[in-house]
Every structure is written in C-alpha cells, then in structure tokens.
C-alpha cells in the first residue's frame, strides 16, 4: 500500500513538473551560484538552468536529487576566455558523484572534451545510468538520493589559470515509469549528513544502540512483492493464458464433432 501511494505520488509530481520542463525557463529563474566543494554544492533541478561566471581554475559543484527509475543527463557549455589570453589546449570535464561521493560512469556524452586553442566554447555532456531502487551494498549501482556534479578544467596550461569563463549547465531527466522492476527498495535515500559529527568516548555504551524495528517481530511480509509492474504482467499473462486455454479447448473438442 505504501509503495502504491508512493508510486501515485511520483506520478503526480512528474505530471505537475511536466509543464515546467517543456516551458523555456525564464532568465530570472536561472541558478547563478555554484559551490566549491561537496559540502557547499549548490542545489539545482531540471526546471532551472544554471549560468555562472567563474574562473578557469575553479572547481564548481552542484547537487541534485534523483529518484528510482530516473535517467539523468547533465549538459554543460563553457564559454572560454579570449583566445589571446590562452596558451594551449584545455581539457574540461564534468564528473558526477553519488551521495556517497562515488564516481558515476556516463553511458553517453562527451565527458572530457579537449578545447583547442581556437575554440570559443566547449560542450560537455554526461548521461548517467538509470537510478536503481535497490543495490547490493558493495555494488556501485546508482541509487536514489543526492548526486553531485563537478565541472572543472582537468588539464590546463599553468599560465591560463584565473581567466574568466562562463559556465551554463542544464539538467534533464527522463523517467522510465517503472521505479522498481527488480523489487527491493532503499529504505533511506543517499542523503549525506552535513552537520559536524561528535567523537564518542573510547568505550561506547553497549546499551546506546537503538532497538531494532518492532514491525519485524510480527509476521514478516518480505515475500510480498509490493506495487511493481510485475503484477500487471502476471495478470495480463494469466488472462491471456485463460483465453488461450479456452481457445485450445474449443478447437480440440469441436473438431470432427
């Protein structure tokens, strides 16, 4: 039931967000900030393009939230400094990390293009893998939660540092509409804490650990598949099987009758 509600909620949100996505975003709604580290990454979403003035040596960070079933694409255009000020080719890169700061692979797009000395702009793109609803703890599969985008020059002649550039970034997202085809879900999204932690005393109190969830003690419903697309497939399959069965039966019975 809870999953069903969630699915309904997602669909509603997607429907609500849809008109925003197709409308060309007004200039005043653009995000014009960027963070300089994971902790200070500036939040962005698909509705607002990003446009910031920066310098060639900067490392610019943004973050966005992704839910299961989404495939996100980050497109970046960097307007390079005037040719006269540059001393050689530059390599620009867009890197995407998940909420645990694990590097994410791009399935398509020019992730680290080379800007020749004559180029006025350089374009980068990275299409991520589809966000899974669940993954083994030791796998690097993309999971729901926060994602970080970093734009920087990964190779740069030393003399070319500190020159003005303009960075435009756009986030696009498609939804497969089937958030959990394999079943299973991540109980808490990968949302890293940003508060300072506390170092505990050397001998931690063994009673300090919270009690395990009470609902596990009663009847377990782990075998129940929840609201997945498998229900539809199975029901449709069953109906087709029944129809085919009746068809086969009538075919075989009526012959030579």
């Amino acid at each position: 039931m809870r999953r069903l509600l969630r699915v309904l909620g997602v669909t509603g949100l997607v429907l609500m967000a849809f008109p925003l996505m197709v409308e060309p975003a007004a200039a005043d709604s653009a995000v014009n900030t960027a963070g300089t580290s994971f902790l200070t990454a500036a939040p962005i979403d698909t509705a607002k393009p990003v446009s910031v003035a920066a310098s060639t040596g900067d490392y610019l960070y943004w973050s966005f939230d992704a839910t299961a079933g989404q495939t996100n694409t980050v497109s970046v255009a960097v307007t390079l400094p005037p040719q006269a000020d540059r001393h050689g080719a530059q390599v620009w890169a867009v890197d995407v990390f998940d909420g645990l700061r694990r590097r994410q692979s791009c399935t398509a797009g020019a992730q680290a293009p080379v800007a020749a000395p004559a180029d006025a702009t350089v374009r980068m793109e990275c299409t991520l893998r589809e966000v899974r609803s669940w993954a083994e703890p030791w796998s690097g599969d993309p999971l729901p939660g926060l994602y970080y985008v970093r734009v920087s020059a990964s190779e740069l002649p030393e003399q070319d540092q500190g020159l003005p550039v303009k960075v435009d970034l756009k986030l696009a997202s498609t939804d497969s509409g089937d958030p959990a085809p394999e079943g299973g879900d991540l109980r808490a999204p990968l949302a890293p804490p940003d508060r300072p932690g506390a170092v505990q005393s050397p001998a931690p109190n063994p009673t300090a650990s919270p009690a395990p969830d009470e609902d596990d003690d009663l009847v377990s419903f782990d075998w129940w598949p929840g609201a997945t697309s498998r229900w539809t497939w199975t029901v449709v399959g069953a109906v087709l099987a029944a129809v085919a069965g009746v068809l086969g039966y009538t075919l075989a019975r009526r012959r030579r009758l």
């Binding site: 500036a42 040596g57 645990l100 703890p137 890293p192 508060r195 395990p212 497939w233 399959g237 086969g248």
Partner: protein, 414 residues
Amino acid sequence: MILRRYRAVVLIGLSAFLLPWCAGPASAREPEPTEAPKVELVLDVSGSMKAADLDGRTRISVAQQAFNDVVDALPEQTELGIRVLGATYSGSDKATGCKDTQQLLPVGRVDRGRAKDAIAGLKPTGFTPVGLALRGAAQDLGTGNTTRRIVLITDGEDTCAPPDPCQVARELAAQGTHLVVDTLGLSPDDKVRQQLTCIANATGGSYFAARNGAQLTERIKQLVKRAGDTYTKAPTQVAGTDRCETAPTLSQGVYNDREKFSEHRYYKVPVPAGQELRASVSVTLDRPVRKDFGVLVRATTADGRELVRGTDAGSGRTDVLSAGVRWSTESDDDKPTSVCLVVSNSLAPQAGVDEATGMPVELVVGTADLSPTPASPGLGRGLLFILLLTLVGFGTGLVAGWLFRWRLSLRRVA
C-alpha cells in the same frame, strides 16, 4: 460520522506517507547557521598599485571602486572586515615596511559611509607583507563554527618572505579553523599567479586574474555572496590513529583530519543491528603531486577482515579524490558491529613539496535503515513470460479438449 472519521484517518495516513517523501534529502541538508557569514577583504596598497594598466586607470582606483560597489551590494547578514597591507610606511627600511599591515575596518555589520571614507583615504605606499597580512586577517576573523573567507587582492608578489605566504596559508588551513582564502591578482605576472594559486589551493579557495574593474567587482561580489550562500558549520576535527584498537569512535556527521603521503588512518564506527553504514572520504590535493594518484577507503572488522572497499584514482588536475562505501549485514545478531574505516592514499609528492603536514581529509559518516535483499519476487515480467503463459494455457486447453473428446468417444463405444 464514521465517514468523517475515516476521512481524517485517510488524510493523516496520506500525509504521513507523503510528508517524509516530499521532505526528501534536500531539507535534511539545510544548514542551521548559528553565526553570520564572515568575510575579510585584504587589499594590497603597496607602491606598485600606482601602475595605471587596467583600462588606463590605476590599480588602486579600480580596487577602490570595486570595494565601494561591494560595500553597496553587501548582503544584509554578512559581516565584513577590511585589512590593508603596505598602506602607511613609505620609507625604504624592509624590516619596518614588512610589518606594515593594519585592520581598516573591524569584522562586523558594515557602516557603509564609514567604510567608504576609509577606502577613499588609501594611498599606495609601501611593501607587500602578504604572509603577515594573512595571519592578521585570520586573527581578525576569529575562531568559530562556520567557514570564514578571506579575499586577498594584490598586484605583486610577496617581498617580505619569511613568512612565505603559501606556507602561512597551509598553516592556517592546518589549524582547523576552517578558513578559505580566495585570491585576486591584478597583474599578469607569472610569479604573482604562482603564489596566489598556491595560497588558494592550500586553503580550498580560488584564484582569479582580473583584467579590468568590472571583472574585479563582479568577482568580489560573487565571493562575498558565496560566503553567504555556502558557509556551513565547520566539520569536527578528529585525529585518526594507525591501528583499529586505538581509533576514535565516530557518530553520524562530518569530520576533518589530515593525512600524510602513504599514511593509513583508522576510525571506528559502531553500526547498530538493522542499520547500514555509509561513509565517504575526500582527500584534498592541496599541493603539487605526481601524475597518477589514488585514494582508498576500506571497511574492516576489528580483526582485519575486509568488508567492503571504495576507491578512486585519477591523473589530471583535481581538487579532491573521493571514495565511498556502504555496508550492512542481515544477521540476526542484535549487537552493534564495530566497523573500522581505513583511509589510505597512493599520492606521491613532487620534488620540493612539503611532506611534513598532512593533506586535508574530509570524512562523512552516517548510518541509515538497512535495505534488505529483495526476496525473489514471486511474479513474472516481460513479453516472453506472457508468451509462455499463453502457450502453456493453449496447450493445456488442447489437451483438455482432446481428453473430453476421447471420453466422449469411449462413452459412445460403450
């Protein structure tokens, strides 16, 4: 009555389901600042600022105008201070000239008129004691929980080392007071650029070469705004040890530490039953390192069995190297598991690079509800599955039909 009660129950239920979902991870990240963002502008007023090479205007006049614009556009809650260097001593004695740095405006809410008067009175005169000015600015800003920014604007290389400004910047960063130095160069000089990028890299700041007044103004405004946007509570300082037994025990949150080249640092994290461990590590490359590098974080049990590892490697220009791990166990044991995090790096210093102080390490530790392995779903999916069901259904129907006919024929024979 019953209907109404149900409606209330449904509404409460709905909001209970939807609220946590809507709140999402974004709200969990909202910082709760307890102090105002603090910025200090450090301006070089040495003799070379007289040079008129920025669109025909002197460097000092461009800087003064930029400062005025920044003071006008200052965000309400930001506390600003101004420090100058080389502003008073016009003699030629280096020893005296290299102590010439004063605070023009104490860090606090800005009185715009007073700030502008102070800026207008500046005359380019003396030496360039950048290192000393940085130390002074760090003292002006004081210690606190949040990130504080120094914006250093200079046109010349430090003529007063020691103290070497880059070394000073590294010391300030190592003190754990969470200070970021952004640098702005006003002259296209190689040595100035190298020095300013070194200062910026050491503290996680940025370097910008301004070629005209508009660029300078825009950049300072951006940096001041950034101070207001992105300052958060500074991470807790922690010191990892070289063995698991003696390692500090961490709870949920963000930590800072320092790690030297080829050093291993251990931290302990208790993971309660029914929870999973989530940890990320970022090592900042605050000095020139050799071409290929990597960082490795491993989660092990107290007796050294490896549970999971995260790694990242690269070879280009980068600010940090990051890796993360998740780990959970679905055993029935109710006791918390004590997991050791081992952070190591495969970085090599370039020749002549300081190896005595460690590189900044940022550690994010958290636990969350364990996500159990999904049971085999019990339902099918896909066209092949439907086709198989239909074929089997059809076949069964055929067989049933034949059986029926066969029985009928048997009955007829009888």
